[in-house]
Subunit: 263 residues, 2 copies
DNA sequence: CGTTGCGTTGAATAAGGTCAAATAGAGTGG
DNA sequence: CCACTCTATTTGACCTTATTCAACGCAACG
């Protein structure tokens, strides 16, 4: 259950100079910390994002109780955040794709409070935190963007509470699919075809459902021609149909519910 | 359902000078933004916390879509954060007591994304945000504490997901009671007697349960002599018993589960 | 070609929601 | 002070939803 940080992965931290794509020509720039920065400001932040780190599928970027030293911008790949309950069950608390900022949970107690595990081979930009705090002093827009991204994280938590606290299983799953689709779209990728690289168990954990229930509702959506399923590739056929499910089971269907759930 | 900001409450914003207690001799200092600051640093922040505002019971400090201008430190009273679903149902996303920082959700989109409603007559310290960001540049410890409090907010969101996603109703309620008790204790008040100023409906909404279920479990805890109930005053008689409930229904009882749920 | 992990499906069961009725206080007006 | 009203709360009966337990299919991999 608990993965330890392996030497193999640690050894894969390499100076960013070895990589061509730095912030200024990174495709996720406007989703990430450098959003809105001038070229000159970009240059300052680039000098200081110290390294990019590779994390192999199934391995962890950080774990509960690891000392907090840096936050990370996902550059390539896919992560989940999770925590383990005493009885061994897993609770997935988020999914993270390129452009997302993770590790912020560690600021609070100077230790990480969850695990970040790569669901596919991934690369992250390492942002040493205390140096970052200093730099953000000198670049107000950077500071503001950091606060925006923190605030966004809290908003996602709120949306998750809303989802877990007041929706049925099928509504949760429909929200999840639309939200994933929306996030993929925000990254300029075809959003109707989702390559979910997580298991049904992980989706279920995130949505507060068992994996059997997830599977059942996926099958139900498929029967209703709202989606098609090919292993972990899901194609959304009827966005409106999924929205209808979220809106409720027939009568009360005032306004379409904007899917605000986050990762 | 939706309360509008009333003139009565708005008129109650008053310069903080009219109040004796400023940060340096505020009892919540070490829980709040000034935590760890020197007297000199305190003086700087005091000059700048512009006003304290009164919010009457049932009225809102801010509402969804209100433009974001300030964050608030609860000084006296009790708040809930909530959002309304399209069908009119309420989702309570947090409870806030003195020393808590609220309104941070607004940074993200420059508008508030939830409502903050006073559950009893309350006072908050108004912290204009852009001025605060500037000041925090000059006082690194203040900046850090702000980040810590944001991070703590995210950790609470995570804990809430854990609670909503992987616990039974009785476990959720027991977690809630222990958590409230712990937060009261952190404020130096007797923690065995809780004066909950929210309704069963609000507790239920927060915990993802109906108010009937909340009532039933409270009665069950009472029967089991774990708590005593007097309207909204609840006395915790058996902390260990509540922890047992959280740990699980009999067998698997490895380690006691630390209640990390937040408001 | 067996093993192993993931996914699907069915039947039985439990947890909690829904509906309904009764009770208890707090506040109001006479 | 009392009857009346309103809301919050408790409790019971019933029913929906999702979990649990179990069997089986399928693909990847040694």
């Amino acid at each position: 259950m608990s993965l330890s940080i392996c030497d193999e992965c640690s050894a894969l931290s390499v100076p960013i100079a070895q990589f061509k794509p730095v912030c200024s020509n990174c495709g996720w720039r406007e989703l990430c910390l450098p959003a809105g920065l001038s070229l000159e400001e970009l240059a300052r932040i680039e000098r200081f994002v110290s390294a990019r780190r590779k994390v192999k599928r199934g391995h962890s970027l950080y774990q509960v109780d690891d000392p907090f030293a840096a936050v990370y911008a996902v550059w390539k790949g896919f992560f989940k955040s999770n925590a383990y309950l005493e009885d061994g069950r897993e609770q997935v608390t988020g999914f993270h794709m390129p452009g997302d900022l993770i590790g912020v949970d560690g600021i609070n107690a100077d230790r990480h409070t969850c695990n970040a595990i790569a669901l596919e081979d991934s690369d992250v930009c390492v942002i040493p935190f205390s140096r970052f705090e200093e730099l953000s002093n000198e670049v107000p827009r950077l500071r503001r963007q950091f606060h925006v991204m923190m605030s966004r994280g809290m908003a996602r938590g709120q949306a998750a509470m809303l989802l877990l606290g007041s929706m049925y299983g099928d509504q949760r799953l429909a929200s999840f699919l639309l939200n994933m689709s929306q996030r993929v779209a925000a990254r300029g990728q075809p959003s109707s075809e989702l390559h979910l690289c997580m298991t049904r168990l992980e989706i279920g954990s995130f949505l507060g459902l068992t994996f059997e229930t997830v599977s059942r509702f996926l099958s139900k959506f498929h029967e209703e021609r709202l989606i098609s399923i090919h292993r972990r590739t899901i194609r959304i056929l009827e966005t409106a149909g999924l929205r209808n499910i979220i809106a409720g089971p027939s009568e009360r269907r005032s306004a379409y519910y904007a899917n605000t759930l986050g990762g």
